[in-house]
């Protein structure tokens, strides 16, 4: 049967799947819907009144939105942690679950793009960035590079995930001629989206806190911590609530990779801190604002030390083999990693980069309620898309949802 007649059936079947679910499923969707509506209302107000409803000002011109954007680029890039062993070494236990890494990447990139959209002053002009339709300042602007690599990475993951699921739906193995080259391409692309995003900040000589060549490697290290942290928790949830089987071996392997990434992340942070404090130049100001505050301006200090404590304890939990085998320490480690990287890579990167501002003024930025609501809405959109994709993907991988040649019905 041709793809033209079968694909709509796949879509229709998927729709039927997401319409079925227990009370917990609907409660989760309702919760996300509330957040999305609240975020949409806040965003509508932001569009009509301007970004003045955020706490950003000329001094701190990027804030919570760009912080979340940066963090989520890392989450998206982490899909390769699973892809590398799965495809290159053909390591079976991870291969089964790699599809979820790809779906996570798709949702994360979607959130990234939404965070950029809500951050710009003229969302009505976003088409100015589309090559051909608008004018993309490529290759001079690193932001232009970022637009390109993020969209390509999004497309690759979307195509691979859809192809694998569609083939599985039809009871067939995926086409290696399509999947293998794309997956191999996705590995440098994942490194690419993260490197380019790091360069976005790294290339600004005006901001000494970002203008450090350690930024890109450090971005990658922290991405390889936070992305797998989310996936490990997700796999346990799936294992609990569906018939999906994920071997302990796979989970322990990912946790082990995380331990190395956590160490590398801490090491790179330490190297940067050493350089700043020992050389003690005027540029130390920004690092000091983060770790000890400047005068009475100490808003971020508790976050800084919380992040340090979280990253350190996650490392200690995961470096001991018993720690990553026991489910309590495993999950504690994952949560600590996630929270630590979120603080570090989000607010911890953006705000000290801009405080004090280019002329030395200290404006203490704390996100406004509008920003929190819009951001929660964007996260809810991402989680909604991820949930719906899982709802389709899980039965397909379990073989519960398959096209039957005779009736064309899913069962």
């Amino acid at each position: 049967m041709s793809i033209v007649s079968q694909f709509p059936r796949f879509v229709a079947g998927s729709f039927r799947l997401v319409r079925r679910g227990n009370a917990a499923y609907w409660a989760w969707l309702a919760f996300l819907a509330v957040l999305i509506v609240s975020g949409a209302l806040a965003f509508a107000r932001q569009v009509s009144e301007g970004l003045v409803v955020t706490a950003m000002r000329d001094q701190v011109s990027w804030g919570f939105y760009i912080g979340n954007f940066t963090f989520l680029v890392g989450v998206a890039a982490a899909a390769v942690v699973l892809v590398i062993p799965a495809y290159i070494y053909d390591w079976k236990p991870i291969r089964e679950i790699v599809i979820y890494g790809e779906l996570l990447a798709v949702s994360a990139i979607l959130m990234c793009l939404l965070f950029v959209l809500v951050d710009i002053g003229r969302p009505d002009r976003f088409w100015h960035l589309i090559p051909g339709l608008g004018h993309l300042n490529f290759p001079r602007s690193i932001l232009a590079w970022d637009v390109l690599v993020l969209n390509i990475y999004f497309a690759i993951n979307f195509v691979v995930a859809t192809h694998i699921l569609y083939r599985a739906f039809n009871g067939r193995h995926y086409d290696t001629r399509i999947v293998v080259p794309l997956v191999l391409l996705s590995i440098p692309m994942a490194v690419g989206i993260h490197t380019v995003t790091a360069f976005l900040f790294n290339g600004l000589a005006a901001r000494p806190y970002w203008n450090s060549s350690i930024l890109a490697p450090q971005f990658l290290a922290s991405a390889f911590c936070s992305g797998p942290a989310i996936l490990l928790i997700l796999f346990q949830v799936l294992r609990r609530f569906t018939r999906f089987e994920i071997q302990d071996q796979a989970i322990s392997k990912i946790a082990e990779l995380m331990a190395y990434a956590l160490f590398l992340n801490l090491f790179l942070h330490g190297a940067e801190a050493f350089k700043e404090y020992y050389s003690d130049t005027q540029h130390l100001l920004y690092t000091r604002y983060w770790f000890s505050g400047l005068g009475e301006h100490r808003t971020l200090v508790p976050y800084a030390w919380t992040a340090v404590a979280l990253n350190l304890s996650a490392f200690l939990l995961f470096i001991i083999p018993a720690g990553r085998r026991h489910w309590v320490t495993l999950n504690l480690g994952c949560l600590a990693t996630y929270a630590g990287c979120y603080i570090d890579k989000g607010m911890g990167l953006i705000i000290p980069g801009l405080t004090p501002d280019a002329l030395g003024e200290i404006y203490e930025y704390v996100p406004s309620l509008t920003e929190l609501r819009v951001a929660a809405g964007v996260f809810a959109v991402g989680f909604l898309v991820f949930t719906l994709m899982l709802k389709v993907a899980v039965p397909i991988s379990l073989g519960e949802f398959q096209h039957e040649p005779d009736t064309g019905e899913a069962h």
Binding site: S61, G121, L129, L143, G360
Partner: protein
């Protein structure tokens, strides 16, 4: 809503024709050149006429939007005498009036930093909000900072849509109709010279400067970035920037860098001159000097 005040209902045909016109307009714009710097003189003139009509209607007074081109053989440069500046901020307010900056919320292209003589030029020790009964204050000196019109400008390099560029006369300008408001240029600027319209800018009607330039002081929309243009509407017509004219102590010098007999060349060749954050290699065309 009062039913009598309700606007007349739009007929299906009216709606369809407006929608079709909008679609056609969008396609035409999408196919042709889009940024102001790419437009032909004719299309630019037609567009500026529309802008004039729009502003005139909005402010109830005749507004001119000029497109005065750069003058051949001219590169503008600025010099500010740190030993003369008394920190009175008259330049700040003259700039706001001349360049139609928003009064609420307040946008100011010039920021005067109060500095401590013991510390020298140290931004982290500076205070832009100094408010003594009288200036200059004992033991203080003042560094007014606006766009430094860099020859190696980080802001134009990073703009993802090419909405900001350096004109042939050296003025860094912004296309307010093309800027998407991503504020990457603000992160890239080492001088805090770029300002964002966080809300809809407001200018009282009787305070509007009606003589405008399309790359300079025409009224801006919300959500875009703006900055000092050396008063492009004045300097391309052979006048001094407003801040140069208003300075009560003559601390501000302006002229053609390419003219060996200009005052600016005299200052650069004969005085102790510096540029801010020289180590960043931005190569400003805004110089500071000690005249005495």
């Amino acid at each position: 809503m009062d039913p009598e005040k309700r606007p007349p209902p739009v007929s299906r045909r009216q709606f369809a024709s407006v929608a079709a016109a909008a679609a056609a307009g969008f396609i035409l714009t999408a196919c042709g050149p889009k940024r102001l710097r790419e437009l032909s003189r004719e299309r630019l003139a037609a567009l500026l006429e529309d802008l004039e009509k729009d502003y005139t209607k909005r402010f109830g007074t005749a507004v001119v939007v000029a497109d005065t081109p750069p003058i051949e053989g001219v590169t503008f440069a600025y010099a500010l005498d740190l030993s003369r500046c008394i920190g009175c901020r008259r330049c700040v307010y003259a700039c706001v009036e001349e360049n139609n900056q928003s009064r609420d919320p307040e946008v100011q292209w010039i920021r005067v930093l109060g500095m401590n003589k013991e510390k020298g030029i140290d931004f982290s020790e500076s205070d832009p909000y100094y408010q003594p009964a009288e200036v200059p204050e004992e033991g203080h000196f003042y560094v007014p900072v606006a766009c430094q019109q860099c020859r190696n400008a980080p802001c134009t390099k990073v703009c993802p849509t090419g909405a900001t560029w350096t004109e042939p006369d050296g003025i860094v300008v912004i296309d307010y109709d093309w800027c998407v408001g991503c504020r990457y240029c603000m992160a890239a600027c080492p001088y805090g010279a770029r300002h964002f319209n966080w809300a809809e800018p407001t200018i009282p009607r009787d305070h509007l400067n009606t003589k405008t330039h399309y790359l300079g002081n025409r009224p801006r929309p919300k959500g875009v970035v703006e900055k000092c243009t050396f008063c492009i509407q004045r300097v391309r017509a052979g006048r001094y920037p407003a801040c140069v004219e208003v300075c009560p102590v003559g601390a501000r010098k302006f002229g053609n860098l390419l003219d060996p007999k200009s005052e600016i060349r005299y200052v650069i060749e004969n005085k102790r001159v510096l540029v801010l954050k020289e180590e960043l290699n931005t190569m400003p065309k805004f110089f500071y000097f000690y005249g005495t």
